[in-house]
């Protein structure tokens, strides 16, 4: 992205507060690897801050710059200068997949070397600067045998929050749900038996998932697409980066405007009126463990029989049900243990009830 495209996009966004009327904002820089362009990002952030100040914009002092990075450049001089300059408005998430073996399966240099050692050496500095930040892990078919050991490894590195989910694409084969459930049951045992639940969180275990959902009261959309403007390097606008051409397998990209002409609000209407039941097949509406079952609007679109965002993909159905069973086990085991130790009330008072975090 050129600075000029970024500037035009910022000017458009800040000049149209009626279109962007949230009280706060996150500017999320997505790569490839965003920190490779930290100087450009620094210039963009400076422009944003100065413009928010000059315009007396409501987002001034109510904004965050967010990054998901592979962590390789984290300790570099340029990145550290950027962090020091913007620290109070920064959220940085380093993605590390788990153990060295697991991480180096996919995250490799051009010459084939694994990147684990170079990432992990930056973890202490990152945790020192952002002790509350978590990491994001995505599980696909090949990763299933490593789920338990990967999460435990991340906890052992000092990472306290592991946000983790299975991919929404249809990569699953018969039996994957059983492997997944076994991994999660093992993980539940390890977290509880080692008292890790006191300080650590794995987002697979959420107390209130796995319940039927009311067709009227629980009818919101899961996915936030349409409410998070995404801008590509050419200045095209998307309802989410998953609708850009490089993110799609089968379908044409969905462009909802650009930094010169602005947003075509008609193209946003389907996203903003989308609800759970209208896009769901009957089996999802009737599902007795529906709550917490997520979807990605971009994947729904990509996998749909027609060019629509209104056909929910159910590729993760069995995986969700496996998660619910393990999740039930986790909470039953944890609460029984706390009761036997007379610590249930203390736990309830000191631990915020986790809720599933929509996209």
């Amino acid at each position: 992205m050129s600075f000029d495209i970024a500037k035009q996009s910022i000017d458009y966004i800040l000049s149209n507060p009626e279109l962007f009327n949230e009280p706060s904002v996150e500017f999320d820089f997505i790569g490839g690897e965003p920190l490779m362009e930290v100087k450009l990002i620094d210039r963009i952030c400076d422009y944003l801050k100065s413009q928010m100040y000059k315009r007396n914009h409501k987002w001034f002092n109510s904004y965050r710059f967010c990054f998901a990075t592979n962590g390789l450049l984290y300790s570099s001089k340029d990145v550290q200068e950027f962090i020091n300059k913007n620290h109070t408005h920064l959220s940085i998430e380093i993605t590390i997949d788990g153990t060295k073996a697991k991480h180096d399966l996919n995250r490799i240099y051009k010459d084939g070397r694994g990147s684990y050692e170079d990432v992990v050496k930056n973890i202490p500095l990152w945790l020192e600067q952002f002790p509350d930040c978590g990491t994001k892990v995505t599980i696909s078919h090949a990763d299933l045998p490593y789920v338990c050991e990967s999460v435990m490894h991340l906890f052992s590195l000092g990472i306290k929050v592991v946000n983790i989910n299975v991919v929404f694409e249809d990569v699953w084969v018969d039996g994957d749900d059983k492997i997944f459930e076994t991994q999660l049951l093992n993980l539940a045992d390890k977290i509880i038996d080692n008292n890790l639940y006191e300080n650590c969180v794995c987002s697979f275990f959420v107390e209130n998932i796995g319940k039927p959902m009311d067709q009227i009261l629980d009818n919101g959309n899961w996915c936030g697409s349409g409410k998070m403007l995404s801008i590509d390097a050419a200045g095209n606008f998307y309802p989410c980066t998953r609708f850009a051409q490089y993110s799609l397998r089968e379908k044409k990209c969905v462009i909802i405007g650009n930094c010169v002409d602005g947003i075509d609000s008609n193209k946003l209407r389907p996203f903003l009126t989308l609800d759970r039941t209208t896009q769901s097949p009957q089996k999802c509406i009737d599902c007795e463990v529906a709550s917490g079952c997520a979807w990605c609007q971009g994947e729904n679109y990509d996998a749909a029989d027609t060019d629509t965002i209104y056909q929910r993909s159910t590729a993760i159905c069995k995986m969700h049900k496996a998660r619910v069973r393990a999740n039930n086990y986790y909470w039953n085991k944890l609460f029984r243990k706390l009761e036997l130790e007379g610590r249930r009330e203390e736990y309830n008072a000191t631990h915020k009830k986790q809720t599933e975090k929509p996209c």
Binding site: V254, N266, K267, R269, T273, D305, T308, Y310
Partner: protein
């Protein structure tokens, strides 16, 4: 449930709706395909509407067409004047020739016009209303309406209220889609392409409507394999989040325009919603005016509302 089959008999069959007519060509529907389509319509128990090109149909087609009860949609410029006389719906492209055309009672006349043609020809309505029983105006560029156009449109409809009232006062139950349809309705009455209506195009394949055929959309089946409408539920009202909350029941709810403007067949554009609500609100005023003449549709009430786009309610 499918109720209607539209059969454009040629690529350049007259457009009676928002889409532009196809290029003139000699591509007629194959006569054997036409026979199959008629047989299909009989077995599926659907009503057939034939849409004619301007050029006279070859004589061998006429007896085939007459093997099924049907409605005829014909252009005012059709070479076959007997056919025009027999037509159930006569379509005018623009306002030329309307004044001179000899309208018949009991017949529907469709005028396709862009917004500027509509605003420039408001006076033509005055002369038309006494001469015909049903006038359908199709605005071909609704998607291009801007704020100033909405205001002009509202003023135009308001100006027609006393003229239509006068017709009703004379005992002439004129039907004019933009103003009277809503008064008579107690539920949604839309185009329903893809749900109740399907089109068999001259290439022998099914399409959601003629517009989907002409813009190169994928077919939704053919005579051999039958209908195969993917995501068919999205053409139904209950799967249209904005429309199912709406009471502009006269709205055409054009799924082709929806897809063109919002990329989804079940989501109307802001412009389509506002235009429909301007009509709805004008119908409300017309209903009140006609009631000053005496009892009229006592069961039908059109509530006063404070929005022109139901999307605003959903957002709230």
């Amino acid at each position: 449930m499918l109720k209607y089959l539209i059969i454009p008999l040629a690529n350049d069959a007259v457009s009676f709706c928002h889409y532009e007519r196809g290029n003139a060509s000699d591509r007629l529907i194959d006569i054997d395909m036409l026979k199959k389509a008629i047989f299909w319509a009989m077995t599926e128990n659907v009503n057939v509407q034939f849409v004619y090109p301007d050029k006279e149909m070859p004589s061998e087609y006429k007896p085939v067409i007459d093997t099924i009860d049907h409605a005829k949609i014909v252009s005012s410029h059709c070479e076959d004047k007997v056919l025009t006389d027999e037509a159930d719906i006569v379509v005018f492209d623009g306002w030329n020739d309307l004044d001179a055309f000899k309208c018949q009672s009991g017949k529907s006349y469709v005028v396709r016009t862009d917004k500027s043609g509509l605003f420039d020809n408001a006076d033509v309505f005055k002369s038309l209303f006494p001469k015909l029983d049903r006038l359908v105006v199709v605005i071909t560029d609704i998607d291009k309406f801007q704020e100033s156009d909405f205001q002009k449109y509202e003023a135009l409809l308001n100006a027609m209220i006393p003229i239509i009232k006068e017709e009703y006062g004379k005992g002439h139950s004129l039907h004019f889609n933009l103003l009277t349809d809503r008064m008579f309705l107690d539920k949604m009455n839309n185009c329903n392409a893809g749900d109740e209506t399907i089109t068999l195009a001259p290439d022998g394949k099914f399409y959601i409507c003629p517009a989907f055929y002409l813009d190169g959309s994928k077919a939704v089946g053919d005579m051999e394999t039958g209908l195969d409408i993917k995501n068919r539920q999205l053409y139904r009202l209950d799967h249209a989040p904005i429309c199912r909350k709406c009471d502009a029941w006269q709205c055409r709810r054009c799924v082709w325009l929806n897809r063109k403007t919002t990329l989804e067949v079940n989501t109307p554009s802001h412009e389509q919603c506002v235009v429909a609500h301007i009509e709805r609100n004008a119908s409300r005023r017309l209903l009140e005016e006609i009631r000053t003449l005496g009892e009229f549709l006592p069961e039908n009430e059109i509530k006063e509302i404070d929005y022109l786009d139901p999307f605003e309610i959903i957002k709230q």
